[in-house]
Subunit: 94 residues, 2 copies
């Protein structure tokens, strides 16, 4: 099973749990997932696309979709950090 | 007026237009905006946060919110490109 096939159910589960419990500890799992995604060179737009497809499949309400942005935000925070890290490396080298 | 204050209404307008017309040419404006955001070192998580707040404010339906992911995808594509560019620069230097 490829990396992506293992990620889809994990990401889905994090969203489902977060939307059910609104427990912020679950967002920490999003952070961990983010690191794995970056390690495996998954592009940020692929995460957006996955998020969209989960929202479509699971027929969430507008309220739930809006809440689900918290998970996406957490994952993108990891991308932001990695991006800034590369940027500062680049600046150092200029 | 700061950069961010000029971006918020622009991003809002792109979403509004896209949701009304579903015209893919509008997504091109998202690409252009993406480049500006990156230039001004706006983090990807800030874009997610802005997107969420627009969805909340404008009281969009679940269907519209799902459609709005196309705009977010377009913007994140720019971040993905910039990120990969930095990554390949870094690899070259290793």
């Amino acid at each position: 099973m490829g990396f992506w096939e293992t990620i889809v159910p994990k990401y889905k589960e994090i969203i489902r749990k977060y939307l059910n419990d609104k427990d912020e500890n679950i967002l920490y799992q999003g952070q961990k997932l983010s690191r794995k995604l970056i390690e495996h060179q998954i592009a940020p737009e692929e995460v957006i696309s996955l998020h969209k497809s989960i929202m479509m499949e699971d027929n969430y309400s507008a309220r739930k979709i809006i809440d689900s942005f918290d998970v996406l935000l957490e994952v993108m925070l990891g991308y932001g950090l990695a991006y800034r890290e590369h940027q500062s490396l680049r600046t150092e080298q200029l």
